[in-house]
Symmetry: C2
Subunit: 378 residues, 2 copies
């Protein structure tokens, strides 16, 4: 059933739908067995059919990285939305409009300043916004440490300000730097324990803290127990990518996103195959650069998706990719990979590569291709 | 006149229109004085008002990196279009449709295989396509060496196949690796001399080769003479960026593209300011990483555009930027850069950062803001 793929212009972002469905099932079943809800992070796909497949499999609401994603989900009937970036005061009006339209949007803060701004806005508009407090479990980025005195201050400001404290949330982003199961299990436990501890401190101070939300794909797939946690957020598991493969949380046959490209030239002396998938298609993400295996700008596969061992995109200009075969024989490139022949490239980072494309081309098991649009911008 | 900027949601891609106009004038005047036509590469902006400003200043046609850009320009009355990526056979139908609609599109090849495919297609459809042959002047990417015997073979295949050989073209992409005027002048001369030599070889073989097209922003701004050259292509000069600043071909007050961002948090212990411009806004481009000054993911400026010396975006997640102040005093970050305050970030690479946004927000000298849409995808 290669005809539909053959009709696609390149570069094109392909989604292997059976793999995606298996990835969704795998994560959902894991969360079910651990006794927590799954709230997928839709920043990876930004694509409604993907999100709908996650909801159909049992997900409880969504996590978003922009209010545009929130609006998009809400307009399609997905109401329980967590905007998981500390909200800028300038975005509160947009959040309020969503709330007033009926969206059960909740937003995030991690500071006294931020909490005060939200309270002031909510009082001005007479609205009882729902808020999460972000906890820092690994020094990765944002959030208040579980033992920070300010955690209690922020909770008190929110609750005394008339807001609904929905709970505490954290993201063990440093899991991307690990690549062995024991370290991942330890970080997953740290993520769980510190977020539960933060909730407990708020409760011990006499305030309600109903929810405890944690998550990253590597820790979600590594945690041995999630006692005290109510929900997990994860995003990239829906497609996986080479970064996740290096971390060790997925197999090669679980990588669901690839870029279809056409050979447009050769530099035989250098062992280069030139393709039409440059960084505009792959993105500039070099997430595997410091991992156990550096995949350059991507792993090269045949048109039907078999890895060509050692073949990588080793260079990228805007609309040119440079493919080298690694240790393999580089003779007769123009005969073996003629101009017009096609390859598939597995990306380092599915979130970044997907963002380069207005649409995915979704390949069903029967070879049918569907065009799935995705969001761009804010 | 800060009101209009203050009303923008963040992150937003800002174009300083007076700077852009000066950049356009500078390059156009340089090409006029060197006696060559300028064919701007529109892959940088992918934005009609920018392209129209280049045409209004005297540009002769455009260079494009995708056929979507070609269609967009042609639909707006810009007819002389060079598609400067060796054409994949699968894209010839789209090129033909543009030609038949009246677009003076020319396309590119750098191989016997490619030339044969174009000739076969042209014969099948009875169309006299216009073709350039790509020359490799610096081992950077694609093209045939000026002395390669295949250069004459390709020219002969095209001409005997009934096509119009428009000329030879090259791009000294390795200029991005240089940072001193003498080396840039030497590379510019190499680019000129080798492309002129390739044209001469074709002419010496008894074939017409009317045009000689060269260019990259650094070499275009460094060349001392362009004897034998008929046109120059350059793209990023329209906005410039930190990579160009490191190369030494622009001043800080010529950088016309920046990203407006809002402070959303702090990690005072680490000296971090957290913003809402992560890699989704800045792109993952780290083009300054191996240059004389590594700007991380961007140089931080005040909301009105003054550089904050030493302040860089040193980390980026999808929707979070991490700003550090460098050697400067990092005390009281939350007081000095409160949540909700705004910064502007100068990007490493204007082509990559622009591509993350559906629109630019163009700032006139009088403070008025216009929304300029840009192309996304293929």
């Amino acid at each position: 059933m290669s005809t539909p793929i053959a009709s696609l212009d390149t570069p094109a972002a392909l989604v292997d739908v059976p793999r995606m469905q298996r990835n969704i099932q795998r994560m959902q079943q894991r969360m079910n067995s651990l006794g927590v809800r799954l709230r997928p992070h839709v920043k990876t796909s930004k694509c409604l059919p993907v999100i709908q497949a996650q909801i159909a499999a049992g997900a409880s609401g969504v996590t978003v990285s922009t209010l545009k994603e929130a609006e998009h989900c809400f307009n399609q009937g997905i109401s329980d939305v967590l905007y998981a970036v500390a909200i800028a005061p300038g975005k509160l009006s947009q959040a309020l409009a969503l709330r007033r339209a009926g969206c059960h949007l909740s937003v995030l803060t991690d500071s006294v300043q931020g909490a005060q701004a939200i309270v002031a806005f909510a009082k001005e508009h007479g609205e009882r916004l729902r808020i999460w407090i972000e906890v820092d479990c690994d020094g990765h980025r944002s959030g208040l440490a579980a033992e920070d005195p300010a955690l209690i201050d922020v909770a008190r400001i929110l609750i005394e300000g008339g807001l609904q404290l929905r709970g505490v949330m954290t993201h063990a982003g440093s899991s991307y730097e690990l690549d062995n199961p024991e370290a991942l299990q330890a970080l997953a436990e740290q993520e769980r324990a510190l977020c539960v501890r933060a909730a407990q401190r708020i409760r011990d101070a006499g305030m309600a803290c109903p929810d405890v939300s944690i998550g990253s794909t590597p820790t979600a797939l590594s945690a041995l127990n999630l006692d005290g946690v109510t929900e997990v957020r994860a995003g990239v598991y829906v497609f996986f990518d080479l970064v996740m493969h290096n971390i060790g949380v997925c197999q090669a046959d679980e990588l669901a996103l690839s870029v279809l490209t056409t050979v447009i030239g050769h530099q035989q002396d250098k062992g280069w195959i030139i393709t039409d998938a440059g960084w505009m298609a792959m993105s500039r993400d070099r997430g595997t650069q410091r991992q156990r295996h550096d995949f350059g700008y991507g792993q090269v596969c045949t048109e039907t998706g078999e890895w060509i061992e050692g073949a990588l995109v080793t260079g990228a200009n805007q609309e040119h990719g440079i493919v080298t075969l690694g240790g393999a024989d580089s003779a007769d490139l123009a005969t073996r990979f003629p101009i017009g022949s096609r390859l598939r490239i597995l990306p380092n980072h599915a979130c970044a590569t997907g963002a380069q494309f207005p649409d995915y081309h979704a390949l069903d098991a029967d070879g049918a291709v569907h065009t799935w649009s995705r969001l761009h911008g804010w």
